[in-house]
């Protein structure tokens, strides 16, 4: 259940950037190779966001597919998971170009700055 620890970190980042406003949405990019279960992350996020600026916020998770650059044939192909083999020639000698992301991309904020709320 690394999702709970990841959710904690997402909420922290959201709070740091909320500027005292209410966070209504958090946009997240999650690489296909990160073994993150979206439902578990959403559940964890909902739980740890209680009492923070991100309480009740929607967690929007964009899955980033794995893109592999093949060292053998030069093709760049997309994979949804393992094995990380070139989609054209099947070689395992590939460079992972994307699919390992775990990023907070953007926040949607609502309302005026709440002076009671720590930025």
């Amino acid at each position: 259940m690394h999702e709970l620890a990841l959710a904690e970190s997402v909420v922290k980042i959201a709070e740091e950037h909320a500027d005292g406003k209410r966070v209504t949405k958090v946009e997240l990019a999650v690489g296909a190779l990160r073994q993150v279960v979206p439902e578990a992350l959403a559940f964890g996020f909902e739980a740890v966001a209680v009492g923070t600026a991100a309480e009740g916020a929607v967690l929007e998770i964009d899955e980033v597919p794995a893109r592999l650059a093949c060292e053998a044939c030069g093709a760049e192909t997309e994979r949804s998971g393992f094995p990380l083999a070139c989609g054209r020639c099947g070689s395992l000698d590939v460079d992972v170009r994307s699919g390992e992301e775990l990023l907070v991309l953007a926040l949607e904020l609502e309302g005026e700055r709440d002076p009671e709320r720590r930025a």
Partner: protein
């Protein structure tokens, strides 16, 4: 109500990685090499260390991560190596692995000045520990033959995070329907650069090769390469 979208692009693991870098700087300053040893519960991390650490010939200490209790730390302390216990049940959302901050909090208790090598025995778990760097130099894992051949495919994040897999409990092979070649093929599909050693903590087979790897890991300017790599398995990428 007015809503605004703010672009951020922040790595979710950045806070952990920042602390991990601070840990790594402390290890470097003290001249200590750090190995993060991971596995599923019961794979034999502690048993392997009990076998390998005596006669290692380098000054080694252990940082022991457990959810509860000090059973493993007591086993290792009987070998007269300095052992520091971290209990992770004090954390929230971090019970199942060590993170950089837990290790940082324990560092004042670790006699870094007296060590060349620190082995961090992570919490038994094949998912979470792979995600959290702790400032280590090398990552290795134990996977016992009793766990089945499919584990690299089921837990690719962990198998991709490591440069060495210790295939433990090989003394059980005659009693199991375990296809070692299939396991190694599965390992290659998720991490072609990963090396492996066949070991048995029970009989001691292969343990000297693990000691050699630990010794090489302890000398900062010597790249650690497991000596006994099966044919067809590439050396770890450096």
């Amino acid at each position: 109500m007015h809503r605004t979208r703010v672009r951020i692009v922040a790595d979710v693991l950045d806070a952990n990685d920042t602390i991990a870098r601070a840990n790594n700087e402390d290890f470097e300053a003290a001249g200590v090499s750090v190995v993060n040893l991971m596995s599923a519960p019961g794979a034999g991390k502690t048993a392997l260390l009990e076998r390998a650490l005596p006669h290692l010939g380098v000054r080694v200490g252990v940082l022991e991560g457990d959810v509860q209790g000090t059973l493993d730390a007591e086993r290792l302390a009987s070998l007269h190596v300095p052992v520091t216990q971290i209990q992770t049940d004090l954390g929230f959302g971090g019970e199942c692995h060590l993170d950089a901050n837990m290790v940082r909090a324990a560092l004042p208790e670790v006699p870094l000045d007296e060590l060349d090598l620190l082995v961090v025995e992570n919490v038994g778990n094949l998912v979470c520990p792979a995600e959290f760097r702790i400032g280590e130099h090398r990552r290795a894992m134990v996977c016992s033959v009793a766990e089945g051949e499919d584990k690299p495919l089921k837990y690719p994040l962990m198998f991709r995070a490591c440069e060495l897999v210790l295939v433990n409990k090989i003394d059980l092979l005659p009693h199991l329907e375990y296809d070692l070649d299939l396991f190694l093929a599965n390992l290659r599909t998720v991490n072609p650069a990963c090396a492996h050693l066949l070991v048995s903590a029970r009989t001691g087979e292969g343990v000297e090769a693990f000691r050699d790897w630990l010794r090489a890991a302890a000398s900062p300017r010597t790249p650690a390469r497991p000596p006994a790599v099966a044919p067809g398995v590439p050396e770890p990428a450096r």
